[in-house]
Amino acid sequence: MARRTQVSTRLNGNDIDFLCEPQQSLLEVLRDELKLTGTKEGCNNGNCGACSVILNGRLVDSCCVLAVEAEGAEITTIEGIAKNGQLHALQQAFLDEAALQCGICTPGLIVASKALLDSNPNPSEQEIRFWLAGNLCRCTGYDKIVRAVQKAGRQLQEAKQ
């Protein structure tokens, strides 16, 4: 076994550290070491988005990020989307609009949608579809997902006013 490195990072607003081997992906560490299994493995090579997390404000596939890259970074996973037990508008919208069926892609989609609304609070349908093209869903056909994102976007805008 290779020598493990200690990594310090800010995860969902908390300063933590963990040990990892050099070849371990951030996805693997999140799930297997930190026991945060909300982030999912679908393909392990950056094609399905089930492992989406936000790293230093940027939407990434955590299967394509080495765990050591988390050093000094700020990471948001699905576990960090709800604050103090209150669901984020996106999470509530996904529930209300029935935008999930099996739910395996849902964490990745919610994280990706949050990254979208953080950077573009009022996206068009086309902009939503383009942004979410990196998150595969096989159950819903995307219709209700797009509607949920539109709804959450509107609600967040209204809350600001």
Partner: protein, 754 residues
């Protein structure tokens, strides 16, 4: 069974938030790969690099010596099984063949066929150990399509295989044709001779995968007392229990299967791949073993659906479909059992046709053993038949939906099996499509075209078992055994709430393991809301009877004087006597103890479902890209228990169908390697590839179900292949008869025609 007459349902038809929703949107829900028992080690599978080979020798000794390796297994570790055909729920399964597929003994029959497995301290060590397993193969020529496989000189997968036909044997020499069948009625040749128009084409479709985002996973713990616990993502925990027990020759009472949340199935997660292997590795190592497939393994080592070759010839006279002759040849994959029979039995489902002749061939080839994919068998057959009908309509200048209406199957129409239909919604669905805003709107612009297609699926019944326990606060626990893939906790809870006249929020639904409930067949076959719903209704009635008996005891009146209405118990002979459900529940301890109801059944009365789809496309002649401009899916749900989840089934299936029509295929090299076994190159639709999918739910209640339910999950994947192909034909003037209609195929074809 009579359908409950209600002018208006209170809960059914509303759109409550599903009870497992919060866990799923916060990442707390536990799927198969999320379970981490103490002492967990990891298993990985060694798979054949060859599509067809004899296994001469497997030497695991080097792998066993590697530091960190705790167990190695091969087929030799399975107890010897005699071939036994099991009725495990929805399909017939030859357990010997399942065991062979799970770990090959003497022959590998497809690239990706599992040969050995290792359990080690980490996935990385296990993967390393696989490289140290030596397998000596005698490579054989593979056969990779039905036409080649049916030739007299084709390489034979199984020397013992003989063609079977309806309980008998046809032919006595080794063959790859596992089964042959025919459906015949009337006189097709006379009808062809007398027709106004006849169209004939040969169609091909490629092997495609269900594409569920969650790879197969199984975690097993074999205790020293031989009790086995399996945590797995499956469509059917009882199926896993039965098959694993059978393969391991282990009593089912010592196998407990815990169904975790499941990340998609569509039929592909009813079979068993990892569970017996994980169990054996656990037995040998004394540790719990987790096995999860990589995406490439999912493509190469699970159960995609058949590639097909289908010939259809059809005739129309005076606007009537008078004859259909068809030849369906489906890839079974490495072992017999494609769904070609269902294809033959569904393709004429939407029509009255007196003259038909359909031949079916189930053919083994050196590809993964096929598994069910959402209305298995029906989609390619509908692609072929609906395309030919489309061309006939074009030829005779008939509106394709008016044609379908004129020729619509109705109650009493005989199917190709001879069975008459009961109450069906075929006409209603076509009519709704005809009068839909989409169909009534014009389609304009160059390179644009509109296509329509219909589809049919039987829908299943099968076994369900539920328990209902009344809590002292008047809420109710619903304990059921149907894996919740698409919202069935909600649809079943709603049916119970309706039966008991309680609000939906009063029902607490749990999906439990095989130790905790009676047998439940798979969540699949569009059966759960129907059959488990029927059980839920019966269990609700059981609770009502018990509540009435309790109230009678409390009031000192005969039980037959007590009735339950709108959530309140009344006494016929004394109108001052009244108790709400909650009030009586509170007194359960003092009126006889806990109130628990149940129902177990093998559901009958499943109602078939119809779908008709309308799609507008635009074809870019330069790039060959087909854009979906607008899509409307119409479907008869019987009664839509939770309309949002019915819509979701329709929309999801439509997008799978679009992927199947336009991009998805297993692309094999000549030596039988799948060259595109990743999500990059196995191109499924993304959010950017499709528009909003409009849905129209028609309700022609199924008289066989208390709430009129018809299964909804499968039929919506049946029409899209033809609907898209028909739209492309309208847009380009060219009929594509081979799927997928990929950009390359479009460009090559259109430019050749120039």
């Amino acid at each position: 069974m009579t359908t409950v007459e209600r002018s208006q349902y209170k809960v059914i038809g509303t759109r409550p938030v599903r009870p497992d929703g919060v866990e799923k949107v916060t990442g707390k829900a536990l799927f198969g790969a999320d379970v981490q028992p103490a002492g967990l080690i990891h298993g990985r599978v060694l798979r054949s690099p060859h599509a067809h080979a004899r296994i001469l020798r497997i030497d695991t000794s080097e792998a066993e010596k590697l530091p960190g390796v705790l167990a190695v297994v091969t087929h030799a570790d399975f107890p010897k099984t005699v071939a036994r055909v099991e009725q495990l729920g929805e399909s017939t399964i030859n357990t010997n063949e399942v065991g062979e597929n799970v770990l090959a003994s003497s022959k590998v029959l497809y690239r990706g066929h599992a040969v050995a497995a290792v359990a080690a301290a980490s996935r990385m060590v296990a993967d390393e150990a696989l490289k140290h397993i030596r397998v000596d193969y005698e490579v054989l020529p593979p056969v990779l399509n039905v036409i080649d496989a049916m030739r007299d000189d084709a390489p034979i997968l199984n020397e013992l295989l003989r063609t079977r036909s309806m309980g008998g044997k046809v032919g006595d020499k080794p063959t790859n044709i596992a089964a042959y069948n025919q459906f015949k009625g009337g006189d097709v040749e006379s009808a062809f001779a007398a027709a106004d128009a006849v169209v004939e084409h040969e169609f091909t479709t490629s092997m495609v995968h269900q594409g569920y985002i969650e790879p197969q996973t199984s975690t097993a713990n074999w205790n020293a007392d031989d009790n086995i616990t399996i945590w797995t993502s499956t469509q059917g925990a009882f199926g896993v229990r039965g098959l694993t027990a059978q393969i391991l020759k282990h009593p089912i009472s010592k196998v407990r299967v815990i169904p975790m949340e499941i990340g998609g199935g569509f039929g592909g997660k009813s079979p068993v791949y990892l569970d017996p292997v994980a169990a054996l590795l656990s037995k040998k190592s004394g540790r719990p073993v987790k096995m999860t497939m990589s995406r490439a393994e999912v493509f190469e080592g699970t159960g995609p659906t058949s590639g097909t070759v289908i010939r259809v010839k059809a005739a129309v006279k005076d606007g009537r479909l008078t004859a259909v002759k068809a030849d369906l040849r489906y890839e079974a994959g490495a072992f017999p059992g494609s769904s070609v029979g269902a294809g033959a039995m569904c393709m004429l489902g939407p029509y009255i046709v007196e003259n038909f002749e359909i031949e079916t061939y189930d053919v083994v080839v050196n590809k993964p053993k096929t598994a069910a994919y959402r209305a298995p068998g029906a989609q390619p057959a509908a692609f072929a038949c609906e395309s030919v009908i489309d061309e006939l309509c074009t030829k005779l200048d008939l509106d394709p939906l008016e044609f379908r209406l004129k020729n619509s199957a109705k109650e009493g129409t005989r199917q190709v099996t001879g069975l008459p239909f009961g109450r069906i919604g075929c006409e209603e669905v076509v009519q709704a499509a005809l009068s839909s805003p989409h169909y009534l709107s014009p389609i304009e612009g160059p390179n644009r075209g509109r296509g329509v297609a219909s589809g049919f699926w039987f829908n299943g019944g099968m076994q369900s078992s539920v328990v209902v326990a009344v809590n002292v606060d008047g809420t109710v626990n619903l304990i059921e055994g149907s894996a919740d893939i698409g919202g069935t906790r909600a649809s079943l809870g709603m049916q119970l709430a309706e039966t008991l006249s309680l609000p939906f929020e009063a029902i607490r639904t749990s999906v439990v393991d095989t130790d905790s409930i009676g047998h439940n067949d798979v969540t699949g076959g569009s059966r759960t809301t129907f059959a488990s719903g029927m059980a839920v209704h019966e269990a609700g009635l059981d609770i009502q009877r018990q509540m009435c008996a309790r109230a009678a005891r409390l009031w000192g009146c005969p039980p037959e004087d007590v009735f339950y209405e709108e959530g309140v118990l009344h006494c016929r002979t004394d109108s001052t006597r009244e108790l709400t459900f909650a009030e009586l529940a509170r007194q359960s301890a003092r009126t006889g103890g806990p109130i628990v109801g149940k129902a177990s059944l093998s559901a009958r009365g499943a109602g078939p479902a119809y779908a008709t789809h309308v799609v507008d496309v635009e074809v870019d002649p330069e790039t060959g890209k087909v854009s979906i401009l607008r899509y409307t899916a119409v479907q008869d749900a019987g009664t839509a228990i939770h309309p949002a989840y019915v819509e979701g089934q329709m929309q999801g299936a439509v997008v799978q169908g679009i992927g199947w029509a336009l991009n998805e295929e297993y692309y094999f090299s000549e030596d039988g390697r799948m060259l595109n076994s990743s999500y990059l190159d196995y191109r499924m639709p993304t959010a950017l590839d499709v528009p909003m999918i409009d849905t129209i739910i028609v309700e022609v209640p199924n008289p066989g179900h208390p709430y009129g339910v018809r299964g909804v999950g499968e039929v919506p994947i049946v029409p899209p292949l033809a609907a898209v192909a028909n739209a492309i034909a309208a847009a380009t003037g060219h009929r594509f008869t081979d799927l997928p209609i990929s950009p390359r195929r479009v460009v090559e074809t259109l430019h050749n025609l120039d």
